[in-house]
Symmetry: C2
Subunit: 330 residues, 2 copies
Amino acid sequence: MATIKDVSKLAGVSVATVSRYLNKNGYVSKEAAATISAVIDKLNYRPNNIARSLAGMKTATIGLMVPDILNPFFPELARSIEDAANEYGYTVMLCNTDNDSLKEQKYIDTLLQKQVDGIIISSYTIEPEHLNGLQKQSIPVVLMDNVFSNDSVVSFTVENRRGGELAVEHLLTQGCSKIAHICGPLTITSSRERTAGFEDASRRTDWFTPSLIGYSDFTVNGGYSTMKELLALHPNLDGVFASNDLMAAGALKALQEAGKRVPRDVKVIGFDGIGLEMITPELSTIAQPIYELGKTAMDSLVGLIRKEPDIVTDRVFPVTLIAKQSTMNE
Amino acid sequence: MATIKDVSKLAGVSVATVSRYLNKNGYVSKEAAATISAVIDKLNYRPNNIARSLAGMKTATIGLMVPDILNPFFPELARSIEDAANEYGYTVMLCNTDNDSLKEQKYIDTLLQKQVDGIIISSYTIEPEHLNGLQKQSIPVVLMDNVFSNDSVVSFTVENRRGGELAVEHLLTQGCSKIAHICGPLTITSSRERTAGFEDASRRTDWFTPSLIGYSDFTVNGGYSTMKELLALHPNLDGVFASNDLMAAGALKALQEAGKRVPRDVKVIGFDGIGLEMITPELSTIAQPIYELGKTAMDSLVGLIRKEPDIVTDRVFPVTLIAKQSTMNE
DNA sequence: CTGAAAGCGCTAACAG
DNA sequence: CTGTTAGCGCTTTCAG
């Protein structure tokens, strides 16, 4: 492994000159540049980033904390963030926290020790006080999908509540007259908001009754069993809004097993807009602009890192209705 | 940000002692340990890992290169690797290569410069010569799913060929008498092997004909359209083996659209064993032991890093048939 | 335009 | 059991 010293020696210049050449800052004569370049090629020299980091106090690495990369929402987010990070020259450390506060703390610690330049956190469970360590080190943080109203942390979400409303409105438009709702964990802010949206739109109808709301957990199997319960309670329901696509898929399964035809007998809509093309009928959904969300988070984080004055902060992204087969009138 | 120096000063000992205390090597008196511990708490001191890395020549970080985290196979792999890495105290840098040779090269370079302790590569496109840089730096590498027979790189795969055979055998057992095959990209070794397995088992039957093999690309949509073509060619086929689960899901969709009932009219089996519970009917598959694969890769990488003598190398993992609804006889 | 030198924060001999 | 010291490889003043 050649070092900058080797290069400087062989090129007959000082390490400072090589460093200047490498970083394209400061003056380096044409001739010097040429020989240095040649020597670098010859030695196949590559700067050691660790040393660079130690000297320059920046690592060009960011941490990405997500609950669980197995949940298909997060690969999409991770991908968009990685792409954006890549363009900025950053590398991404992936951390699965499993919504486990302890793991979260541990990872924050690790990332801090590894001197990452910033962290993007998508967490259901994180609390303002968990961020104390970060605030103290004044390391840039961007939060996804979990807003601390009282707080100064930059964060991005989508119009969850409006989305829930939109879902119901769409089902109504498609002719539904008894809509059930499969809601996600009540511990999750965005989940609660989606359910609030459902209530906003359904409270003003004559068919609404609280028992149309079933409680679940954002998983396929959860959606499946909650759907079964709902079906037992309300055999004549004709529409379902699930707070995420995974549960909607589970609901679909339960409905089909119960002999209900989707969309003819019951229409189903989910939330998130993850790519679930493998499902028949294709699932209508309230889509989040996941890619944009990730990209914006990264843009904002870089702004924070570079201490740019006017970074984007606390944006709430719009959601869009994507109508597919599962809510269609044949 | 307190440093080891601050701690040593305040504790009235030398940095060496603090370092010894931190690393639990060498002797530190009970009293010294106590005061150091107190000072660390008071200062909220955390060792700077970058400095540690520079001094100790190890970063406790590994790189993970995958084609695309959006393909549901890779989150599972990534998760298992991250879990294992975590246990060993390693952090994972995630790199999406998109099967793009240039991106791969670029990432290898970046990881090298960041001085990662090792790299796990899952790539369809990587060639032995791309690994030259690594070999030269003698940095540990473990390959997944892409074996260079001629080469000395540690790599793990599964019994792809046997799996293909197994799939056909299962369909035959279930009563199929005309089985089509949706094969994946021919550029991918494991894909070719699965198809070879299909041929092994089907060549010896009387119904086999080459036009029963349709060429596709490992995606849902690819499986969908290839299935349509196969159906046009062989309307009376009664079994389908797709080289991965995503294509199998696409095939299912095409079959259902064509009015075929699965499994009654046509039975379908995939490959990989990714969690696709959202599909109805549930998909039979030839499952890879993904979690174990990732775990073993990490174990092996750590063995390489630590230069342990007897590391696991070049294992071929067995696959297992998981029979679900899609190949069931009702 | 260039070089010497002082760190960045930590580890690891080595000498007490 | 403890302290001194020499780096790890690079960046960055600050004089030339």
